[in-house]
């Protein structure tokens, strides 16, 4: 890459103002005790953005350590099957298996610059926790990861990875014992440890500057994919797509295309058992405007403003809020957000495995499922999908869902997805 991955593109109406507002979304609804730390982070980040040394250091780390830029892969068999030309941005091939490594390396480098010795992180699926533990190990920082107790059980392998990397994993037993409660607990740690601890926020949500800061570290996904698509096809894609939980992989892809009005943008939210059942995490599609974890955004909440428990088979998408920039992109009509059910996502996981020999993370499988549907509306068009993570961590879920793992041929995943064949 010739330019720094942290260099923002030309300002657009889709970016935040200096108080963190994306239109009417975002902002900073936080305890006063944390404002000084957020300001300190904002200033350190603003300085880093314009410091060529930081940009070079970050880019070198991404290239030499994380395996970035990730390739843009043309999925020929999936394209043949669906009738659209499908390109996959292979973030699953990054070190630690997802786009998350970009964000944590950027934030961990900032931590070093601020002279702090300890990082904390929340994690849902464990991908951000593993990435944080990895960056902390690489840069010699102490690391504590908060993870909902429910998630430590469904993602035990990632707990082990974090522990092997030297991180302390604290299971969170409050509230719904999932990602939102892990964020609560990390914030409680931070308010007591802020003088020596940085909070590596795992997604493009939360109080200003996190949504914009995280975007600056993950926007390489879209910047690379845009150029790779031009190199491969000679033009921009007709549509781009990504899964949206908190929304960091999606905003990382979308950012480079926001000012290309000819490129349609789709975000696929976790539809769980189906939005109509109430057991889902499709925050933009089915939530209401509110304030959660420091930002005004769409929130799954009851009529008193209490956060409602979300549901998704994918721990990494199981969050009742969403990054405020996505709320803004939805409200302005620049991007379209649609729900994908657990079932559709699992079928897409099997489909991609069988057609391309790629096992996606269940998170990313939501985007694959969405694009399989999108191809019906857009035959022959070029659809660029962020394959944000790999599915190794999800084999336990897949094993249960498809009845895999026994040596005797009692169950065939294809039998579970006859309509795909």
């Amino acid at each position: 890459m010739t330019t720094s991955s942290t260099t923002p593109g030309a300002p657009t109406s889709y970016l935040a103002d200096d108080k963190g507002w994306f239109g009417t979304f975002g902002g900073r609804f936080m305890p006063e005790a944390l404002i000084a730390a957020l300001d300190e982070l904002d200033i350190a980040w603003q300085k880093a953005l314009v410091d060529p040394t930081f940009g070079l250091e970050f880019d070198a780390l991404l290239q030499n350590y994380a395996g970035v830029p990730s390739m843009l892969y043309e999925a020929h068999r999936l394209s043949d099957l669906t009738g659209a030309r499908i390109l996959l941005k292979r973030e699953d091939l990054n070190h630690t298996g997802a786009h998350k490594i970009r964000n944590v390396l950027g934030q961990a480098l900032l931590t070093k610059r601020m002279g702090k010795k300890r990082v904390i992180a929340e994690t849902g699926a464990g991908q951000h926790g593993v990435a944080s533990a990895t960056a902390a190990a690489y840069l010699g920082l102490d690391c504590t990861v908060y993870m909902g107790e429910v998630d430590t059980e469904r993602q035990a392998l990632n707990v082990a990875r974090m522990q092997l990397l030297g991180a302390e994993v604290i299971p969170v037993t409050s509230g719904s014992r999932t990602l939102k409660d892990a964020i609560n607990e990390a914030l409680r740690d931070w308010v007591a440890s802020v003088d020596h601890t940085a909070y590596l926020f795992g997604t493009a949500a939360g109080p200003h500057p996190f949504p914009s800061l995280v975007l600056s570290f993950v926007r390489g996904i879209g910047d690379e994919a845009r150029q790779q698509c031009l190199d491969l096809t000679g033009r921009l894609p007709d549509a781009i797509a990504a899964c949206v939980g908190g929304g960091s992989n999606a905003i990382g892809l979308f950012a480079a295309f926001l000012d290309d009005p000819e490129v349609a943008i789709y975000g696929y939210e976790p539809g769980g058992d189906g939005v109509e059942t109430g057991r889902h995490a499709a925050t933009i599609h089915a939530g209401d405007v509110g304030v959660l974890h420091g930002a005004r955004t769409y929130v799954l909440q009851d009529e008193d403003g209490q956060t409602v428990e979300s549901h998704s088979i994918s721990a990494g998408l199981d969050y009742p809020g969403v990054g405020p920039q996505h709320a803004h992109l939805s409200a302005t009509g620049r991007a379209t957000y649609l729900p994908v059910t657990d079932k559709a996502a699992m079928e897409a996981m099997a489909l991609l495995a069988r057609t391309e020999g790629i096992i996606p993370a269940i998170e990313s499988a939501h985007a694959i499922a969405g694009v399989v549907e999108l191809a019906k509306e857009r035959p022959g068009q070029t659809l660029l999908v962020n394959l944000s993570g790999r599915g190794d961590k999800d084999m336990g879920t897949a094993l249960d869902y498809f009845g895999l793992g026994r040596a005797e041929p009692v169950a065939d995943p294809q039998a579970a997805t006859p309509e795909q064949q």
Binding site: E32, A33, L292, Q306
Partner: protein, 267 residues
């Protein structure tokens, strides 16, 4: 009635005011009202009614547990307002302490209107700072309500000045960097924070919260603050008397009396 009358009365008595907190709906709505009235009877000068919230990031395990119990029993925002009405009827200034989203969801103007109608004095907003509160400030001013924002040891002089300028009633100084919860020793950050806040606050009273659980601690804080705010210690008493309402109320009254004595013997 605003809280300033309570602080003025305490000042006239040459003592600090005792501010007591319990979440509404804990142990249930009526039990919570009884508990808060017991605290009034035993010497609280100002009452804070907590609005239980699903994601209380500033609260430690004690208040989390009480809020969760209240929510599991189905407490509603309207129950919180009913609690305020019942406590304010005693003549003791009563404010709500709430995270921001429930107010936004209820409707900021509607919330201010209904709080004023219930006789409430105002609002303490632990996750809403004045620079993000224009809608609340306008609604509070329209309904003659107190606006109590927080300052922290990490606050800059500029932010303390901005915050105290936006407050009415008192300014809430969080004495420790950390979540709510009783502590065996009070923070050495509190004194300097109060001094910095007082320098900016003019006549605005400064209340100190987080960690106080005994009369001796209350006396220590009362030696330099205008108000001593106690929350987790009251909640702990009720948690420790689960299933024994009468015993809980007696213990609550005893703790209140100890704290009320503390704020009177400091000077």
């Amino acid at each position: 009635m605003g809280v300033s009358t309570a602080f003025e009365q305490a000042h006239a008595d040459d003592r600090a005011a005792l501010v007591g907190y319990l979440p509404a709906g804990f142990p249930d709505v009526d039990g919570g009202i009884d508990a808060l009235r017991a605290m009034v009877d035993a010497g609280c000068d100002v009452i804070e009614v907590g609005l239980p919230y699903s994601d209380p990031v500033m609260d430690g395990p004690t208040i989390q547990a009480a809020a969760q119990q209240a929510l599991e029993l189905g407490v509603r925002t309207t129950d919180v307002l009913r609690t305020v009405e019942a406590v304010a009827a005693t003549g003791t200034p009563t404010v709500i302490m709430t995270y921001w989203n429930p107010v936004e969801r209820y409707g900021v103007e509607r919330f201010a209107s209904d709080l004023a109608s219930a006789g409430g004095a105002g609002l303490i907003t632990p996750d809403l700072t004045p620079d993000f509160a224009p809608e609340w400030i306008a609604a509070a001013d329209a309904h003659d309500l107190d606006k109590i924002f927080l300052v922290a040891p990490s606050s800059t002089e500029e932010r303390i000045a901005m915050t105290t300028a936006a407050c009415r009633g008192f300014v809430y100084a969080t004495a420790v960097m950390g979540v709510t919860g009783a502590r065996t020793t009070t923070s050495d950050l509190a004194g300097p924070l109060v001094a910095r806040t007082r320098a900016a606050a003019g006549d605005l009273p400064v209340g100190v919260g987080l960690g106080v659980s005994t009369g001796d601690q209350a006396a220590e804080v009362a030696s330099y603050a205008d108000g001593v705010i106690v929350g987790s210690a009251f909640v702990r008493v009720l948690l420790d008397h689960a299933g024994d309402r009468a015993g809980g109320l007696r213990a609550l009254a005893a703790l209140t009396a100890d704290l009320a004595d503390g704020v009177r013997r400091a000077r």
